[in-house]
Amino acid sequence: MVNNTIATNAIWKILETVKDPEVPVLSVVDLGVIRAVELEEQQVRVTITPTYTGCPAMDMISMHIKMALNAAGYQTTIQTILSPAWTTDWMTENGKQQLKAYGIAPPIGKSFDQTYLDNLIVPCPQCNSTHTVLVSQFGSTACKALYKCEECKEPFDYFKCH
């Protein structure tokens, strides 16, 4: 049992090296898509949940998880579940810091209190100015909105609350 816990922790460590292909500073653990890790002998079952239903990165994330664990000697199966639905609340604090450092404004507030749909003030990840305007609800990917900073004049992506 103790050994199993140690081994499971080792698997989580490996998962921390698997990055979101769209946001390469963010690990799949920080992104919050790993719902469970079960280990039996050298068989691992990883349960993941998609960020967005149409997210083309999800197939790649599954493949990268499999490759990383196979390389470490584990037989891996990936199970995808939809419920409970992923929310940006599951992104770790560390993940949010990483996003900001990468130039993407992290999600603000709790998911689905609906206030995120209106009049949200998103600080610029470059200069921290709150003098920013929404350009489009949909940015470079469906999970991001496009903003512009009126202070430093830079456009930036905002990882939308979901």
Binding site: G54, P56, S83, A85, T87, V135, F138, A142, H162
Partner: protein, 263 residues
């Protein structure tokens, strides 16, 4: 097992709605009025294709578990089992498609496209909220996931209805023309298909909520709801406009010409 057949048909109805409106929106790729909006509508298209995949995958699973309950015609022949998300999307013929007519009519101009999306996504928001109570946990899970995306679609398309309706003389006129053209396809949203037998569904409540929200937005935008009430219907029963055949010809051509090809 009539209920199982009903559930499968209802899932195909939801999947077909998402696939066809997703395809229509994707036609804007590279043609949007400005880059940001081009990206927005193609991302919305992607959300819909994702929803379609979820509904098709679940339908395929149920079909394969209950193969004697359902026959799906594939251009005159019964579909080869096991069904997959791809076979359901690419190998069913036009009469097998159960999407609402509003999803298949052509895009028209930007006013037409954004108005259609607005009217449809307000409907979907109500429908999916009811589906959260569905006894099949997977249906409820797909609905839960989809609601988050549909909320953004409502917000985005509603902004365009307001912006064009309350904009210049020409933008207002174009939006009003779009309303006159699309309105006849909205009545079908609230006709409960025979196979929509899940206990959580209440189409009268969907219609009441939809009317309230749409009227408020139209009023704010200074747009008029047409007084004539003719209703185009038949899509959920496989009776389509001439336009769906063209969409399927384009979408299914490759799989039919080169069966089982992958990319």
């Amino acid at each position: 097992m009539a209920t199982m057949k009903n559930e499968i048909d209802f899932l195909l109805h939801l999947a077909d709605n998402a696939l066809i409106i997703g395809h229509r929106n994707s036609e804007w790729c590279g043609h949007g009025p400005i880059l940001e909006q081009d990206i927005a509508i193609t991302n919305i298209a992607l959300d819909y294709i994702g929803q379609a995949r979820n509904f098709y995958q679940h339908a395929a699973q149920l079909i394969n578990q209950h193969p004697t309950d359902i026959t799906i015609n594939q251009t005159g022949n019964n579909m080869v089992l096991p069904a997959t998300e791809d076979s359901l999307a690419y190998l069913r013929d036009v009469r097998e498609f159960k999407n609402l007519l509003i999803t298949e009519i052509p895009n028209g101009d930007w006013a037409y496209t954004t108005l259609r999306l607005y009217l449809l996504s307000e409907f979907e928001l109500q429908l999916f909220t009811q589906l959260l109570q569905h006894t099949d946990a997977q249906v409820a899970a797909i609905a839960e996931k989809s609601i988050k995306e549909v909320s953004y679609h409502v917000k985005w398309s509603q902004d365009w209805v307001l912006r064009l309706g309350d904009g210049t003389e020409e933008s207002k006129q174009r939006m009003q023309v779009a309303i006159e053209a699309i309105w006849a396809y909205t009545g079908e949203l609230f006709i409960q298909p025979d196979y929509a037998t899940a206990a959580c569904l209440n189409y009268a409540a969907i219609q009441a909520a939809w009317n309230k929200k749409v009227s408020a937005v139209f009023e704010e935008a200074g747009l008029n709801i047409p007084s004539k009430t003719f209703v185009q219907k038949g899509g959920p029963d496989g009776m389509h406009t001439e336009h769906l055949g063209y969409i399927l010809a384009e979408m299914q051509y490759l799989q039919r010409a080169y069966p089982n090809s992958e990319w």
